[in-house]
Every structure is written in C-alpha cells, then in structure tokens.
C-alpha cells in the first residue's frame, strides 16, 4: 500500500493533513467536504421546505419520493436542464462569473473549519482571520450579480446587500475578537487565531466560551448569532432578496443552474457561519460536559449517541412506512421509504458496532485505529449536531418573523450591535486582565 495511505492508518499522521503536509489526504478531505456540504445543502433544502410547511400548516413536498425525499434531486435536475438565460443588456462575462465568486467564497471557508481535532483540511494559524476575510468576499458575488444584471431591482438588492454585509461584519468581527481574547486565558497567556486552537483552548479551560465570564461570552455569542443571519441574507434580514419588495433582489435575472449556484452558496454560507459560531462559542467538536463527566463509562455512553440518532431517524422513517395509506398508488413510496429506513438502520448498526468495538482499551494497531475512528465519528457527530441546531433556527426565524426594513437593519447594526460588541470586547479584556 502506498506510503501516504499507510501513514494515516498507522496513526503516524497527527493533526490535520494540511499540518502534516499530506497533499493526498488534504485533497481527499477537500473532496469529502465539498460533497458533504453539497449533500447537506440538498438535505437542508428538503428540511427547510418540510419544516417551513409544517410551521405553516402545509405538507410541503410530498410527491417526489416518499414525503418528498427526492425533491431536492428532482429540483437539481430541473435546474441543471433549464435554459440558461442571460439578459441581452447584461454584462455577459460578469453576469456569468458572479455566482462563481459567491460559491468560491462560500466553499473556501471550509478549508479552516475543524470538524474534529484532525478532521479539517488545514489548521491555519490565522484561521479565523482567513475565515472572516474569505467569507466577506461573498458580498462581491452579490454586488457583481446585481450590477451585471443591468436591471433596477437587482441593483437595489445588491446595494442593500453590500451595505448590510459590510455593516454587520464590523459587529461580527468584534464579537469574534472577544472570543479570541478568551483563548489567552491560559497558563502561558498566549491566545490563538487557529480554529482548532480555539476549540482546544475551550477544552483546556474546561468551559465553552458561551459560558465564559458569564454573561460576556453569551452576549458576544448573541451578537454573532444576529450578525450571521444578516451576513447570510436570511429572514428577517433578507433585504437583498426580499421577494415582496424587490421581486428576488440580486438574482432576479438569474435562472437555472446559475440561480442554483447562488442558492448553493447561500446555504453553504449558512452552514459555514454556523460552524464558526459552534467553533468559537459552543466548543466545536466537543461532546457536552467533557470535563465534568470524564469517566470512560461516560465516554462510552456519549459515543453511542451517533448510532442512537440514526436509530431514531430510522424509527421515524418506519413510522412513516406504517402510517402510509394502504393503496396501490403508494406501494412504490412505501417500498422506497422502507428501504430508506433500512439504510438508516444499517448506518445506525454500523455506528453502534464501531462505538462498542472502539471501547476496548486494546493497544494493538487495529484496535487503536478503530478507537481513533470512533473518536473521529464522535467529533464530527457533535459538531454537525450543533450546526444542525443553527440550521433549524434559520428556518424557525424565517417562519416567524416579518422582514426588517433596510434603515432599521442598519440602525440595529450600527447603533445597537456595534456599541454592545465594543463594550463586551473592552469588558472582556479588563476581566481577562483581572482574572489572570
């Protein structure tokens, strides 16, 4: 077997592939993350439509696949096959490249997002700065799209969006800085900008930063949570694409694949910013109470969670199978859902097996690699679960709130969030100095 595969399997690669200088594994990670995020976006698409529908006493997609499970795939095929319309008056090249810019910015952020201590493409030592810098490039795609469309509504949408993202980035950045300050509350007194380092700092200090210097961490987190909705142009801050005002805002003139790239970028950004919030304040990949409940028994119990989650999902799918009306029309759907349930059950079984197998404290190479594999699954699971909570909140906000007006949004950004985040930053610094 080639060396670069073995090097990982025998555990000689510690840390992220980027860190270890393994281009092969870095590429594999990039591929996995790209696919994973794309699938997550499709799942999110389905989930949003279903959850939103149930908030609104509707059923949502029900036709394509059981409970509309295949709807995102059908949508994707439809969007890819649609005619690609470029308005005659548009600036062709810029119009063509705008969604690419948005997409690139959205996906580039994932290079530094740590799904686990070694489950990241790279552990950049300026990870958080890289993240802030790249994610703010996303606005460029929107502005360029609005300008290139050569149409009034997209132009207004782009203007709104650029003003909004630039203003909220300030509050967002200050909130991030106050979290970074907290990383220096250790023995050596040196902080870190590395995303993995930030989670490790939380591990060392034995507290998620949301609870650190209560309520300072919480306030900074809330500011970030508000700013990230504005940053991703989601309701109630979806001014840039307010469909009742600007028809569809910056992507009014887009259709088909190009439009779907914007959507992909939007959802990818949502996942990215949620990941950042999780990393900075919610302990990243850490399971709940890693310091309080540190006995190996607790480790084992928490390592059962991924498997149990899939058991739960399989059970829900099974309930769907049972509740499906008995009629020949539903036979295919019933079979499909049953297969889906079986698949989920299989994954659950696999995960549970790994959890049980990884429990052994054997020191053989095989056993330790299973244990490491189990650990990796745990890390990714807890990270994804925390991000999923944020994703659900995005949907919930959208169902509940009316849309802010542009000037009110700016007022909230500059007159409320900015002073508070500045204050939190200063107080955090003072408290940090006093405590240390």
């Amino acid at each position: 077997m080639p060396n670069f595969i073995m090097s990982y399997l025998d555990g000689s690669v510690r840390g992220t592939p980027g860190e270890a200088g393994s281009q092969f594994w870095a590429l594999i990670y990039v591929f996995i993350i790209f696919t994973g995020v794309s699938v997550a976006v499709m799942a999110m698409n389905w989930l949003e439509r279903k959850a939103l529908a149930h908030f609104q006493i509707r059923l949502g997609p029900m036709r394509v696949g059981p409970h509309g499970l295949l709807q995102p795939i059908a949508d994707a095929i439809k969007l890819m096959l649609k005619e690609d319309i470029i308005p005659a008056e548009a600036d062709q090249f810029v119009f063509w490249i705008a969604p690419m810019i948005g997409l690139l910015a959205a996906f580039a952020v994932y290079t530094v997002i740590p799904f686990g201590p070694s489950q990241a493409v790279s552990d950049m030592n300026i990870g958080i700065l890289f993240m802030l810098g790249v994610s703010s490039l996303g606005v460029l795609g929107i502005v360029v799209a609005g300008w290139a469309s050569n149409s009034h509504y997209p132009l207004i949408g782009a203007l709104r969006s650029s003003a909004q993202m630039v203003s909220y980035e300030v509050a967002m950045g200050l909130a991030v800085v106050s979290a970074i300050l907290m990383t220096s509350m250790n023995a050596s007194g040196t902080g870190t900008l590395s995303m993995i380092g930030i989670v490790r700092a939380q591990q060392e200090q034995g507290v998620w930063f949301i609870f650190k210097f209560f309520p300072l961490g919480l306030i900074a987190f809330v500011i970030f949570a508000i700013a990230m909705i504005a940053e991703t142009n989601r309701a109630p801050f979806d001014m840039a694409e307010a469909e009742s005002e600007l028809t569809a805002g910056y992507h009014t003139e887009y259709s088909g694949l190009r439009w779907s790239l914007f959507m992909l970028a939007e959802y990818a950004t949502m996942i990215a910013v949620s990941s950042i919030a999780v990393t900075l304040w919610l302990g990243g990949w850490m399971r709940p109470f890693p310091n309080l409940l540190r006995a190996p028994a607790w480790d084992f119990i928490f390592s059962l969670f991924p498997g149990l989650t899939f058991v739960g999902l399989a059970a829900i799918a099974l309930v769907g199978v049972v509740r499906m009306p008995v009629h020949s029309f539903f036979r295919i759907q019933r079979i499909g859902l049953a297969v889906f349930a079986a698949l989920l059950g299989l994954i659950a079984l696999l995960l549970l097996t790994i959890a049980v197998a990884g429990r052994s404290v054997d020191t053989t190479v095989a056993a330790s690699s299973v244990a490491r594999f189990r650990e990796g699954i745990d890390h990714v699971y807890w990270f994804v679960l925390k991000v999923a909570v944020f994703m659900y909140l995005f949907i919930w906000y959208r169902a509940t709130w009316p849309r802010y007006r542009f000037d009110q949004l700016m007022r909230v950004g500059w007159k409320v969030l900015l002073p508070i985040s500045l204050g939190v930053l200063v107080v955090t610094a003072i408290v940090g100095v006093i405590v240390s």
Binding site: Q56, I57, A242, S244, A399, P402, R403, R405, F406
Partner: protein
C-alpha cells in the same frame, strides 16, 4: 424598462402615442432634461404590473433617491373590463352576477349593495328574514376579506406564516358560502328583492360553530403580529395619513377609521338590518399602518358579534319580496352605498323605465382609496411602499372595474 434613458422620458411623439411602456411617465415632474443613464441622480423604477406585492396588476412608478421615494404615480386599468358599460347593456337581473367580479374577495358585499340599490329604486323592501341572511353572509364575507388582507399584508412585510393561518380559516367561510349558494368566491348570493335561497339545514349551527372556531384564531393572528417587535417597527408611523387628508381625499373604510374618524355607514346610514344590531366602530388614533391593522382585526371581532346576534335573532318568514318577474324600475335615479370591507361602495343607477339601467355607476372604495397612496408614501422607503399598498387594501378588480 429603462425610464432613465433619453428615449424613456421623451416628449410624446406620434409613434409613441400608443406606447404602453411609456404610459404615465409624463407626470413625474421630471423637469431635468433627459440625462445619460449612469449620470441620473434619480432612479425610476417600475413596480408592477407584474410584481409580487402589488396585489394584482397595479403598476406604481416610483421615483427614487437611493431608496427614498420622491414621488409615485399609479397606472391602473390593466384589469378594466368595462363593468359600467356592461351594466348599461344587461338587464338589472342579468347584471347582478357581474358585480361579484369587481371586489372578488368581498363578492357578497358587492351583491348586497347592488340589490339594495335596485330595490330602493323600485321602492321594494326585502323581507326581514332576507335582510338577516344578507347581514350574516355579508359579515362573514367581511371577515373573509379582512383575513385575506391580513395574510397578504403580512406576507408583503415578510411574515409568511399568517398567510396560511388566515387562508385556513377563510376556507371555513367559503365552505359556508358554497353550501349556501354553490359558489365560493363570486357567490351571487342575493337577488333583487331578497335572497333566492333559503338557508340550508344546519346553517345556523354551522355559522355558530364557525364563530366559536374563529374567535381564538383571530387571537392567534394577533399573537403572531400585534406585539411582534419587527411588525411594530415596520408598521408604526408608516404611511401616516391624517383624518383631514382622509376626508379631503375621499378615503373611507378602515383607513378612515384608523385616522380617528368614527364613521361607518352601517351606523351612519344603516341599511339591511344593521340598525338592529349592537356593535362598535373600532377607531385608531395615529392613522398609520399599525392602526389600520388593529382596526381591521377589531372589525373582524365586531363582525363576529353582528353575526352572532343575527344568527340568534333570525326571524321566520319569506325571503323574497314581491317583485315582478321583469325588473323594470320607474324612471328616476338612485344612489345607494354600503360599507364594504374596503370602504364606501356606492351604486348610482339612472333608470329610463326600461329593463336595463340607463346608466350604472359604481363608486369603488379601492379606486378612491388608492389615490391616497401618493400622499402616504412620499418620503418613505421602497419597503414601506409595499407595506402601504398592502394596508390600503385594494383589489384591482374593483379599482379597474
């Protein structure tokens, strides 16, 4: 549409006389000479006729400075069907279904106004039972109209969910209509002289069930919106219009009442059986979008009160007055108006003694109220234009007729 280009604001030349795209631009006091596209300081954008928030085919031309509205001009008529001309060419009876197509979300009110106007012209009075049935259906329709308004208005402001709640409950009203007369939207429920259909078995019970069903639902809408901070920010002090302006602009209905004028035709000049019921006229104080919202929600509750009294007190008796088979009012003219959900809906009918009206004029509340849009949105932002269009509660079928 590229109104800022030199050819967009040109003086009318012969070949442009028929140009639909340039309709209505001359009034936007574009005193500055046509400027090159990118040098233009003001942005002229065309909201509608295909726009998600213009409630049909309203076209509003906005002159913007950034996002601030400097002036608006409404271009209407995209749904013009010549209802008044049709009225002159149909008999009184044949014209009755046409009125439903004006304000199609409050078709029952339209029918009530028309039938009462013709009855007044013929000096006929509908029997008491018919009047009660009319009141019940009209008030149900008022609730339905307000529900539709609330849902779409909230959707315009960005709250998606109330739309589905209101439509769910509006459905119950439409079911009652369907059972009563077979139609859900354009009901044609009334006839000149009374009602054609006796209430179906279980009508009273179903209406009462609806009343108990919908009262908590109205609380539910309010729960979502009334104290919602974003809703308050979006509606308070937006689109303010004073009572004096309302009167001068002829604005009626909830918009007038939200400005503090306690005037409702059901009280001021009672028609049908309204003088027999006990209800309040909700009024606002500020005349802003929020007050109009509160007034309409309160009106829904008052309508429920009226319906309850009417269902409990519905008399027995005939439902059709003694009217000849061929409706042939004597020579004369009549103006009759009712309080439709949108405001004063009037019918002015001139009869020459034949079976067809000589002239039939509809005084549409939406048309007149829409005129206030310009006054209400000047100086606000684009997002507020949407809120204000929604709050006036227009139905383009009635504006354009």
């Amino acid at each position: 549409m590229n109104a800022g280009t030199p050819d967009g604001s040109n003086a009318h030349t012969n070949d442009r006389t028929h140009d639909v795209a340039n309709r209505g631009l001359s009034n936007l006091d574009l005193d500055a000479p046509a400027t090159p596209y990118l040098d233009s300081n003001e942005l002229i954008i065309n909201m509608g006729p295909q726009h998600p928030a213009t409630h049909g085919v309203l076209r509003v031309i906005l002159k913007l400075d950034g996002e601030k509205v400097l002036g608006t001009e409404c271009v209407i008529g995209y749904l013009h069907r010549g209802v008044e001309k049709i009225g002159e060419n149909r008999t009184y009876t044949m014209f009755n279904p046409y009125v439903d197509r004006m304000d199609y979300v409050a078709a029952v009110s339209n029918g009530l106004g028309y039938c009462e106007a013709v009855e007044k012209l013929m000096n006929v009075e509908a029997p008491a039972r018919a009047k009660y049935i009319r009141v019940i259906l009209t008030e149900l329709n008022r609730v339905a109209s307000h529900q539709l308004w609330l849902g779409t208005h909230a959707l315009d402001i960005g709250a998606m969910t109330p739309l589905f709640y209101t439509f769910r409950d509006r459905e119950e009203i439409l079911k009652i209509f369907e059972k009563y007369c077979g139609a859900r939207l354009t009901t044609h429920a009334f006839r000149i002289g009374g009602c054609q259909y006796e209430t179906y078995a279980g009508f009273e019970k179903e209406v009462k069930n609806f009343l108990t069903y919908v009262a908590p639902k109205i609380d539910e809408y309010e729960e979502l919106l009334t104290t919602n901070r974003i809703w308050l920010e979006r509606t308070k002090n937006v689109g303010v219009i004073s009572s004096a302006d309302c009167v001068a602009l002829g604005v009626t209905g909830p918009v007038l009442r939200a400005s503090g004028v306690k005037w409702d035709l059901r009280k001021a000049q009672p028609y049908a059986a309204y003088s027999e019921f006990d209800f309040d006229i909700p009024v606002g104080t500020n005349g802003d979008t929020y007050d109009r919202y509160l007034v309409r929600v309160a009106e829904m509750r008052q309508s429920l009160r009226i319906i309850e009294q009417a269902v409990n007190g519905i008399p027995e008796g005939p439902i059709m007055a003694r009217v000849p088979k061929v409706i042939k009012p004597p020579v004369g003219e009549i103006y009759h108006s009712i309080e439709a959900p949108k405001g004063e809906l009037g019918y002015f009918i001139v009869s020459d003694g034949t079976t067809q009206p000589y002239r039939l004029r509809v005084r549409p509340p939406s048309f007149v109220n829409l005129q206030a849009l310009n006054r209400m949105v000047r100086g606000l932002l684009v997002a507020d234009v949407i809120a204000v269009i929604g709050t006036i509660d227009i139905v383009l079928g009635e504006v354009d007729r």
